[in-house]
């Protein structure tokens, strides 16, 4: 019988808490339903879908070349990587050879995109853990990268600069000069960030041993890219299945064994330095030649030929009105995007419009693994883990 002099025993039950969709650390519109015991997370269920824009459905009604601007809008932090994977997939379907100069510039710009993506990641991740100034520094450097994108493509974010067969136009005349300035400041700035964070006791306390992803779990949850490499698996598609001439570049693939938030931070910092290395090599070895393949019927003729040659004018008209029809078949083409394995699965039925375009983005799988990573952690750690995993909601929902 309970002692009447003592208070009745405390009845405890778990509490359900919605994290998001308005919470600033959920980067847009991700909702996490957390089941809590006090401040400890028992279960986490990600809820996505607020940003579904039907890009895969829209692509089925467009000519192959009209899909390119849609791809920018999927992962709007790394638009050129999206352009690249789509163009490579269509080129694989067509068996179209891309001139070396275009390949080099593609590599150069997608590596800049990687730095751009990692800067946004680092800035927001640090901001959420409490380091406000890093966010401002990262966005200051990102601005310089966006200026290069603007000079090249006319757009800061939605570049749509790659075309099936090559590039939309030649690079600007002062491109080398602009990049030289950028490449000079970037490594110094990376040092600056690392000085502020890598040995910082608060940063170490918030990130070390937090959100450990084991290599077995990483594979079971189909995690790729920097998150996989931070869990001790050295897999990089640029090395494993080189595309766009990556086999000609010399770079290292950073790997860490710990699998925690700190490891994911260190891997991305080193990746930015390796990207600078690749950009240097691409600039020095930039081959001369055309920026787009000579493939009448697939690639638009340039304006001068179009105005002087009858055939070019016909090709131009036919391409704009009818598009081009690749052979029936299906291809899957993966690249190493800043967030992980980005793949485009294209099914062609022999008509000028894709029968099906499937976008295999790393973000959806990165969000999914949160349900594995969060349980057992405190809410404050949840914020650090969400920030460290790197996803963009546009790509999660498409």
């Amino acid at each position: 019988m309970p002692d009447p002099l003592l208070p009745p025993p405390l009845r405890s039950e778990s509490m359900t808490l919605n994290l998001g969709p308005q919470h600033p650390s959920t980067h847009g519109v991700l909702r996490l339903v957390l089941e809590l015991d006090g401040e400890t997370i028992l279960r986490a269920t990600p809820d996505i879908g607020y940003l579904h824009t039907g890009i895969e459905k829209n692509a089925e009604k467009l000519f192959y070349s009209q899909v390119i601007p849609l791809t920018d809008r999927i992962d709007y932090v790394a638009p050129l990587s999206n352009n690249l994977v789509y163009c490579l997939a269509v080129e694989k379907l067509l068996q179209l050879e891309v001139p070396p100069r275009a390949q080099w510039i593609r590599v150069l710009l997608t590596e800049l995109t990687r730095i751009n993506n990692h800067l946004v990641w680092l800035g927001t991740c640090a901001l959420e853990i409490g380091a406000m100034s890093i966010f401002l520094y990262c966005f200051r450097e990102r601005e310089e990268i966006l200026k290069v994108f603007e000079a090249v493509s006319g757009q800061r974010m939605m570049c749509s600069y790659f075309r099936i067969g090559g590039l939309a136009g030649p690079i600007p005349l002062d491109f080398h000069h602009q990049l030289d300035l950028l490449l000079k400041i970037l490594p110094e700035r990376f040092d600056e960030y690392e000085e502020l964070l890598s040995q910082n006791r608060i940063w170490l306390g918030r990130t070390r041993g937090v959100g450990v992803l084991t290599p077995e779990d990483a594979l079971a949850y189909s995690i790729s890219g920097p998150n996989l490499r931070a869990s001790g698996i050295a897999h990089d598609l640029r090395k494993a299945e080189p595309y766009s001439g990556y086999e000609n570049f010399d770079f290292d693939v950073p790997v860490r064994q710990e699998g925690d938030v700190y490891a994911r931070y260190l891997v991305r910092m080193e990746e930015m330095r390796q990207s600078v290395r690749i950009i240097h090599q691409a600039l020095e070895g930039l081959p001369e030649g055309p920026f787009i393949a000579n493939a009448p019927g697939i690639v638009l003729p340039d304006r001068d030929t179009m105005k002087t040659q009858m055939e070019a004018l016909i090709f131009h008209f036919k391409l704009v009105v009818d598009g081009f029809a690749p052979p029936a078949g299906e291809v899957y083409l993966p690249i190493e995007s800043p967030k992980g394995e980005l793949g485009c699965y294209l099914v062609s039925d022999g008509s000028p419009r894709p029968w099906r375009m499937r976008w295999r983005g790393p973000s959806l799988l990165n969000v999914q693994v949160l349900s594995k990573l969060l349980p057992g952690h405190m809410i404050a750690d949840a914020i650090a883990i969400i920030a460290s995993i790197d996803f963009v909601l546009g790509e999660v929902d498409r």
């Binding site: 039907g54 068996q95 079971a220 299906e330 099914v347 099906r356 295999r360 999914q368 594995k372």
Partner: protein
């Protein structure tokens, strides 16, 4: 089974045929990518076999999606893209399903990654995954009618 002779001696094809006589229905290669049409009824056993076979080790589920071939029957193809972390090889499996009550075994017991991918196929194509722990819509609202990526679902206008 329809299989071009130059593919017949590939390891994965031989293994699949010896695993179950009805496992592999057809095989082809397009742009260097091996595509196997497999029996939908056996999909979980086939994937389990491919994943655990010590020589093949297709242990990474790259992607899981569907293609609607409307009005051709069998209408749906459930597409499984696998990769072996050991050998680096890729494999594309396609499991055909008819348009009337399309159902297939869930792969969540093999790969937890399949959870959201299967929910997406369920939401956008209306394919049911047997044994999935929480099969509900993921991108469209819960009360949505129809499955948008089906070919008989119009892009604009009345549904």
């Amino acid at each position: 089974m329809t299989c071009p002779s130059e593919l017949a001696d590939r390891l994965v094809i031989r293994k699949l045929q010896s695993f179950h006589p009805r496992a592999l229905q057809a095989a082809s290669e397009f742009r260097g990518q091996l595509i196997g049409v497999v029996s939908a009824a056996l999909i979980r056993d086939i994937c389990d076999f491919l994943r655990s076979d010590p020589e093949l080790r297709f242990d990474f589920l790259v992607d899981l999606t569907a293609v609607d071939r409307y009005p051709v029957e069998p209408r749906f193809e459930i597409v499984y893209l696998l990769r072996s972390m050991k050998t680096g090889q890729r494999l594309c499996l396609k499991a055909p399903l008819t348009g009337k009550d399309p159902r297939i075994d869930s792969l969540v017991p093999l790969w937890p990654a399949a959870d959201m991918l299967e929910r997406e196929v369920f939401d956008l194509f209306g394919v049911h995954f047997t044994g999935h722990p929480g099969l509900r819509r993921i991108q469209m609202p819960d009360d949505w009618q129809g499955h948008p990526l089906r070919k008989d679902y119009p892009l604009e206008g009345d549904r």
